[in-house]
């Protein structure tokens, strides 16, 4: 469903993604793990047509998203790392707007919105402004919205960041259920190893722009001779802190972004 070959993205002198290659099969839940600044979000942005790759090949459901942009976009849904809801509109209106943008016919739009809002336990609040929602509710609404146009692939970029364990748990239960019911391929990134361990069929670990290991959770543990995914992760990426480096990179990316205009 997703196939990536020798993908590279550089911002000026800085290479955020260095020659990565991976495949995700249809119906699979695939997790991307990595420390801050590893290049996960940059990769997602390239997969979702928001950034042009410097070089390499991407295929989503057999389509090159850099060429067939619109057709590719119709086929995936995305939940961004930071919120992307219109807080001045109601939950229902947010869903409706998304449905119109993704060409979902009116009747189907209404029935599917109801079904998804019920699944994600937001139906009672459908006519409330999003600005009155809690962080967990907003996240659930975004994920429900991502499923609205029955995408073949759903990208989730750190969807559980800042949520309490209850919300996280519930969120993954819903995502798993829809993954099974609709055979949606799910591509996610997270910092929570337990989530990846529980939800993902396969995992790739990224560090400094490269994929350092990929396989099932069990394979990764065997490969590193550790008994938890967290230990395997630390064994592969080292235990030095990345925050500072990541911030410098983020700042550089910002500068690069400014000057390209």
């Amino acid at each position: 469903m997703i196939s990536v070959h020798n993908l590279v993205k550089s911002f000026g002198d800085f290479t955020a993604v260095k020659d990565i290659t991976f495949e995700v099969a249809q119906g699979e839940i695939f997790a991307f793990l990595g420390p801050n600044g590893a290049g996960k979000t940059t990769t997602i942005k390239m997969l979702t047509t928001l950034l042009r790759p410097t070089s390499g090949r991407i295929e989503l459901d057999g389509l090159d998203p850099t060429v067939k942009q619109k057709q590719a976009r119709q086929r995936f849904g995305i939940v961004f790392q930071d919120p992307s809801l219109d807080s001045e509109q109601t939950a229902w209106e947010n869903m409706d707007l998304h449905g119109v943008l993704y060409h979902v016919p009116r009747k189907l739009r209404a029935s599917r919105t109801e079904e998804l809002l019920r699944t994600f336990e937001l139906w009672d609040r459908k006519d409330d402004y999003v600005k009155t929602f809690s962080g967990g509710m907003k996240r659930r609404l975004e994920i429900a919205r991502g499923f609205l146009h029955t995408p073949k692939i759903l990208f989730l970029d750190e969807p559980t960041l800042g949520l309490d364990p209850q919300s996280r748990n519930q969120l993954w239960t819903h995502v798993k259920r829809l993954n099974e019911a609709e055979r949606t391929t799910v591509f996610l990134t997270t910092h929570y190893m337990d989530e990846a361990d529980r939800v993902a069929h396969r995992i790739a670990i990224m560090d400094h722009g490269s994929i350092v290991a990929q396989g099932t959770s069990t394979e990764l543990k065997e490969q590193t001779g550790t008994d938890s995914l967290e230990d395997a992760f630390l064994a592969l990426t080292g235990s030095s802190l990345r925050d500072e480096g990541a911030d410098a990179k983020a700042a550089m990316r910002q500068v690069a972004k400014m000057w390209r205009r």
Partner: protein, 248 residues
């Protein structure tokens, strides 16, 4: 088409729902009307130009439409900050449709604001030379709204933060307003001022409004309409181009 409609509708809903903002944004033009219209009125009359309120009311309508439409374009900054912009940028519709929907929405809001101010002017004592002139004045309101909503979209696509916004307000929008002849006649100006005011797109909008409402033309109706339409086309193209280049 669906995408254009839903984004247009969104702008309108946002406007109708923010009642506080409606009042606030009408407050400023009212202040101009009060302080200048009534404050400078006696001086203007002594100079032998008749009623200043009659003269500046079309200018205040033009100003309201200018501010409102440029703001709506720059409101993209908020959408960028709060992330909603990204939702529209990854949707399977062309950037052109998104840009047109947003811009028309902003222009519609500006037209409503301009109409409200015109009504306030009428209440304050402003009288057009004939009620038949209202449709022509409305045409100019629409033209001004489209021109500056497109400019707003173009600017909103470039600026990234609040500093940029301040810069645009102080060095672009305020000069456009003050140098447009909204507050003073364009006749008998020095060479420098004449050139500057003629470079200001709003001059033609205000001239059109004033011409339609009180029959005082600096230029002519055909010239104003043609020029505003041309500028509108240029700004729309620029807006579409810059919007298409946004990277989330």
């Amino acid at each position: 088409m669906g995408a254009i409609y839903i984004l247009w509708l969104r702008e309108l809903k946002r406007y109708v729902r923010s009642r506080v903002q409606i009042v606030v944004s009408l407050g400023q033009p009212c202040l101009y009307l009060l302080a200048l219209g009534f404050g400078l009125g006696p001086v203007f009359r002594q100079a032998g130009h008749g009623s200043y309120l009659q003269f500046m009311a079309p200018g205040v309508v033009g100003m309201t439409v200018l501010f409102s439409s440029v703001f709506s374009g720059i409101a993209m900054l908020w959408d960028r900050q709060f992330g909603f912009l990204k939702e529209t940028l990854v949707a399977p519709v062309s950037r052109m449709q998104i840009m047109v929907g947003r811009t028309l929405g902003g222009a519609t809001v500006a037209v409503i604001q301009g109409t409200l101010i015109l009504i306030i002017c009428l209440i304050a004592g402003f009288r057009p030379h004939s009620w038949v002139a209202i449709p022509l004045a409305f045409l100019f309101v629409v033209l001004i709204a489209v021109v500056f909503a497109a400019l707003g979209t173009a600017i909103g696509s470039i600026i990234q933060d609040m500093q940029g916004f301040q810069l645009v307000m102080n060095f672009l929008v305020m000069p456009i307003f003050f140098l447009s002849g909204a507050l003073f006649p364009l006749a008998n100006l020095g060479v420098v001022m004449s050139v500057i005011t003629r470079l200001d797109p709003l001059s033609y909008g205000v001239d059109g409004l004033r011409g339609a409402l009180i029959q005082t033309w600096q230029f002519s109706v055909a010239f104003d309409v043609a020029l505003l339409a041309a500028i509108g086309a240029v700004f729309l193209s620029a807006g579409a181009y810059l919007f298409s280049r946004i990277e989330a």
